[in-house]
Structures are given as structure tokens and as C-alpha cells.
Symmetry: C2
Subunit: 387 residues, 2 copies
């Protein structure tokens, strides 16, 4: 029945897609044919969202209209904010976000319309409002008033504004915009794939985004940048990176294969299913992180990251991935450690929506098979006769 078993669907093609290419050997990433280096250098997050959804870069008038639409859609339905106010303050921010997005569906005027036009409207709203929800939860759990979105600001600037309630400076805004662009899309990563599996049953866009959020949460995916930041804080200073890494690698070398695969034991921020060389996003993030960390007076963290990277590079063949240096940026921007995965969600949601809309446009149920390893057919034994 099968085309053979590839654990974790490694290298198995699960869909056709015109959105993104990841060249794992050359270390190249392109959205709709455009190199990620060019995009982060010259395009805003709004421009990249347009590119992902409409398959080409916008002209100035189209970009202006799209930016207006997106910023006009930032306000969250009041009952969703009210519900967040009742969540226990200790919960993980991604749990709050996953629940709020699921609730958000109930107030979306297009909730029961899966037409291409409705899905585009829902994508605009959900992309705009995910930033609002993440910032709102940060404020709510700290007992501070929620900061209303400001339609006059860019997505990146407004997000920083809502997170802190303080005027962000130009360099922070640019860094946030870059981070959003760099994380916006990455082909069939696990969360995007989960979104496509969900909509392939012709479920709705919110359901698919909720599935993606639940998938992003794991430390083998979006959750990794929280683990990176925790590790860097544990290492503390650059001189301690080498003994720390050596001791963890030493411990890993004595573990079983299963234990080595456990996120508790892996060194977060290194290794990737697709990239065999350093992630092309990492070099950009490294430069941004260093600049921001210096300014924010947390250069030690950036240098600890550099030192850790050098030891990992010398001691292992594991390439650095997107999570490693982004953790430094999040910290320098004052983002709490457990909010990192939620910031990742703010950046990735346009990619999820692009894939959801692409899946709808030429849909087939995603329903693979399992290779059965259980007991042979056996006869039922009634309760009284079991021993």
C-alpha cells in the first residue's frame, strides 16, 4: 500500500506550493522567488505579507491601501480582551494566545464563510490582531492597562508600542520589522503543515491557525527560542560558554539515541531538519542582535551567544538555526523570555495564512497511513474469562 516509511516524513513531499523555497544545502531562503537577504534589507513586514498573499511585490498604491487595511483591522473584539482578563496570570503566553484566537473565531464576521474573499479578510484581521493579542496578554498578566493599537504606526512599531506603552526608537522598530520579515514564512515547517492538514478537511481558517499555534508551542519548533534564552542566561558570561557546551556535549555523547533527541537534553538553537549549513537568517539576526544588545546594555548576552556559537561550530557539525540569535534580539528588546514563541507567532501568521489560502485553492484531504507494528488479529475474550 505504501511508498515506504520515512520517519517524521523527512524529505517526503506532502504538497505543491508556490510560496517559498528552502535550499538546505546552499543555505538559501526565498519568498516567492525573492531572496530573504534582499527582503530583510529593503522590504517592510507589510510588503512581505502582501508578497506572500498576492504572489508579487506591491506597487506603491497597492501597498499604501494594504497597509491601511491592515492597520485599520488591529482592534480586537472587546469580549476577547475581556476573556483574557479572566485567564490565570501564570499561564504560558502561547496558551493564552491559542485560546484567544480560538475564541476570536466566534466574533469574526466571516467565521462561517470559507470563500477566497472571506479568507483574505480573515487573514488580514487575524494577522493584525495576533500582535494585539500578544501585547495585550503581556500587559494583562503584569496588571497593566492594555495599550490600544495606533493605526498611524507600522506593524512593527505598533507592536512594540502596544507591548511596552512607551515610544519605541527607530532602531528597535527596524529590528522588530527585520525579525518579523525573517520569520514570516518557512515552507512546510511543522506548524504550517499542521495548518494545511486542518484546512484540507475544509475546516476554517481560525481552526487551522489554532492548530498551527498548538504545534508552534513545542520546543522542537517555536518553543526553542525560549530554551535558547534560558540557556544563555544560565551560561551567563562568554568565558563560561566553552566549558558549558563541552560538558553538555559530553553528557549527550553518553546518552541513548532517544535521550539525545529529548529537547531537555539537546542544545537549543542548533540543528535543523532541512538546513545542512547555517540558517541564512542566522547571520542577519546575529548582526541585529549584537547591535541591539550593545545599545540595551546587555552585550554580555550577545557575546555569550557568540561564544556558544563558536564552540558549537568547532565541536559539532550542527548548523545554527533561526532560534539562536533571535533570542538575543527578543531579550534586547525587553521581551520576557516566555513571550518569545508568541512573538514568533506574530511573525509567522502571514505564512500560515498564505498556506491556508493556497491549500483551499487546490485542496485534497491530507490523510497518510501508518505502518502497523501491533499485535496480530486476535480473538475477543470476555471480561470474566480474562486472566
Amino acid at each position: 500500500m505504501s511508498v515506504g516509511f520515512k520517519a517524521g516524513l523527512e524529505d517526503v513531499v506532502a504538497a505543491t506550493s508556490a510560496i517559498c523555497t528552502v535550499d538546505g544545502k546552499a543555505g538559501q531562503l526565498r519568498y516567492r522567488g525573492y531572496d530573504i537577504g534582499d527582503l530583510v534589507e529593503s522590504a517592510s513586514f507589510e510588503e512581505v505579507i502582501y508578497l506572500l498573499w498576492f504572489a508579487d511585490l506591491p506597487r506603491a498604491d497597492a501597498l499604501a491601501q494594504f497597509t491601511r487595511d491592515l492597520s485599520a483591522a488591529r482592534e480586537v473584539p472587546p469580549p476577547v480582551l475581556a476573556a483574557m482578563g479572566t485567564y490565570p496570570r501564570h499561564v504560558h503566553p502561547l496558551e493564552a494566545l491559542r485560546t484567544a484566537v480560538s475564541l476570536h473565531a466566534m466574533y469574526d464576521p466571516d467565521a462561517h464563510d470559507n470563500s477566497p474573499e472571506a479568507n483574505l479578510r480573515k487573514s488580514v484581521r487575524l494577522t493584525a490582531q495576533t500582535a494585539t493579542l500578544v501585547a495585550a496578554w503581556r500587559r494583562i498578566r503584569e496588571g497593566k492597562p492594555v495599550v490600544a493599537p495606533d493605526p498611524a504606526r507600522s506593524h512593527a512599531a505598533n507592536f512594540l508600542w502596544m507591548l511596552s506603552g512607551a515610544e519605541p526608537d527607530a532602531e528597535s522598530i527596524e529590528a522588530m520589522d527585520d525579525v518579523l520579515v525573517l520569520h514570516a514564512e518557512h515552507e512546510l515547517n511543522a506548524s504550517t503543515f499542521a495548518a494545511r492538514v486542518a484546512v484540507a478537511t475544509v475546516s476554517d481558517l481560525h481552526s487551522a491557525v489554532v492548530a498551527a499555534l498548538g504545534t508552534l508551542k513545542g520546543p522542537r519548533h517555536g518553543g526553542a527560542n525560549e530554551d535558547v534564552l534560558a540557556m544563555l542566561q544560565e551560561i551567563g558570561t562568554p568565558d563560561r560558554a566553552e566549558p558549558y557546551v563541552r560538558s553538555r556535549l559530553e553528557a549527550l555523547s553518553r546518552m541513548s539515541r532517544a535521550d539525545r533527541a529529548d529537547p531537555k537534553h539537546r542544545i537549543p538553537g542548533f540543528g535543523h531538519r532541512v538546513y545542512k549549513v547555517d540558517d541564512p537568517r542566522a547571520a542577519r539576526l546575529r548582526a541585529i542582535g549584537r547591535r541591539l544588545a550593545e545599545r540595551a546594555g546587555v552585550l554580555d548576552l550577545a557575546e555569550t551567544a557568540e561564544a556558544t556559537y563558536r564552540v558549537m561550530h568547532a565541536e559539532t557539525s550542527l548548523p545554527v538555526n533561526v532560534d539562536f540569535f533571535s533570542a538575543v534580539i527578543y531579550h534586547a528588546l525587553g521581551i520576557p523570555i516566555d513571550l518569545c514563541t508568541s512573538v514568533f507567532a506574530v511573525s509567522r501568521i502571514p505564512g500560515w495564512c498564505a498556506h491556508i489560502m493556497e491549500q483551499y485553492a487546490d485542496n485534497r484531504l491530507i490523510r497518510p497511513r501508518a505502518e502497523y507494528t501491533g499485535p496480530e488479529p486476535r480473538s475477543f475474550v470476555r471480561l470474566a474469562a480474562r486472566r
Copy 2:
């Protein structure tokens, strides 16, 4: 890079599993080696849950203990019930359930523990409480008081009790128990696969169940039994089945391939990715449905279903699937049409949990590739230069 593209991962093996076998050519379904016919005949839903999670049928003492644990876990945390009370009453019950389960994670004492022991405890609670949540939403949206779970009743009896607030009779209880057993597990169906994709990032059990719920919602999956019931009600009487089906088949034959695949146009309850012959569960459901419908005074619906089935059988090669006759049972049990998918969730959650726990036990990130069909690499054009 790839092993070739199979649209929708048809026949592609995505995992090894010891839980379930689906023989699509012979029309056979087994849980852990036991035939579904034997299980529905002789085992209770509680026994089947035990079988799915512990890989063998329980002895009497183990079953008694497990049943006690499950029924003691039925009460939903009060803040979750309170939140449901604030949901707009018109929302689809599966949206309410998806949101409530996501919220439920915040109150689960093991929320941040992914150990096998904690996942088993979470599986017990979430399996017990999904029934409570579905019944509570039915009561809340009708403005009726929520019926507290009764630990002295079986899962099936208690579910009916909570749904209606009236004493269920023995035949209804048996039918509900059979329906729960028949829907408990089905290998890598789309929702179960979504759950495995989610936990393969080492995300948590609630996140995976939320992903599964969002996936189940689609009319190409769990949502189909709502469409069946709507269709049978539209047909109305047995004599109208033949002209109705002929006219729809006729319309379908004039459509494009894409339109024919659209759930709006497909005839729900027929066709399956894996079964090439009638679904082995359908014959059981047909018999139960007829018996219940007769008693409930809705025999016309059962006979309309029979007539529709006969025409489909004569006119097409599409086998009947699990959704077709289960719709008759749900109707005869007094379950509102838009609650059917939620009842499906009540039955399928032990299967999801079994797969989640199996995935954790030998995990690998599920991350396939896409075949790129987009534009070739192209040079970035600055905004002002675009035309």
C-alpha cells in the same frame, strides 16, 4: 531530495503505530488486534479506552479501577464552564468545544508536565470532560441549567443524562455506547494525524487535542455527519431519495474536477480515502439507527437513509462511510444536527490521546517538504521602481 509527490499523502506511511489497523480492501477495522465487530458487540466504551491506552483488554479489577478514575474526573473546572456561559449562543458547538479545551489547559494540574504519567492523567481528564463540555454547551446555548455529571453512570449513560437532563433508557445507552466504541479510533485520519504533527514538536497534549478538534471540524472529516443529516432532512421521504440522488449525480457529472471535490457538491457519507468497500462500521450503525429511529418515531429518516444508500450503491462505486448511518442515530437520540461533530469528538478523543502518547514515546519531528511550483529566483525591485 524527495521520494515523490503523492497528493494528500495518499498511501504514504507517516508513522509506525501499534494501535489500529484499517484494511480498506477487506473492509476490516481492528483496535490493537481486536475486530471492531467483537468490540462493539461485547466491550464497553470504558473497556475500549483501556484497550487503546494500555494495549490490551483489562481484567475485571483493572477495568473497575479505570472506570472509577474516569468517572471521578468528569467535573469541568468552574472557570471553563463560566467562560462557556459568555460565548455567543449562535456559535458552532465545535468552536465552543475547541475554545473550551484550549482554556481547559490553563486549569489542568499537569499542564506543564509532558511525562508519560502526566499525559495519562491528562488523557483521563480530557476524555472524561470532553463529554461534559459538549453536553454543557448544548444546555448553555439553550438557556437551560448545566446538568452535573453523575459518577455512578457509565460514560455513555452519563453523557446522555448530561445532554438532556432526563433519564436515558437502556436501549439509548447501549446505542450511545456502541457509537462511542465504533468511532473511538481510526489510525491516521486527518485529526489524529494533526494531533501527532503537533506533539511531534514536543508540544503538550492539550495543544494536540485542540489541533485535532480544529481538523475534525471540516466537512471532509467529522463535519460530514452534520451534512448527511441536513441532506436526509432535505430529501425528506424515502420515495424522494432516488430522484434526489440522480439529480445530484447528474449535476456532479457536469462539474470540473475541483468542483466535484468541493464538500458543497459531494454527496456526504460516501467515499473514503482508505476504504474501497463499505466501511465495516456502517452496517452496525445502520442496524442500530433503524432500531432507534423506529422507537423514536422517526423511521422515515432511517428509511430515507436506506433508500439513499441503495441508490448510491446502484449508481456509483462509492462505498458508504461511517458518517452516513451515524447521522440517523444522532437524530434518533435527539442530538441537534450541529452537535453531531462534537459527539464525534467525544468518541474520538481516546484515539487521539492514544496516538499522542504513542508519538511521545518514540518521537521524531514531523516536517515534510513541498514541491515548489512558484517563480524562479528573481531580483528585488525597490518600491519606487515597480510598475
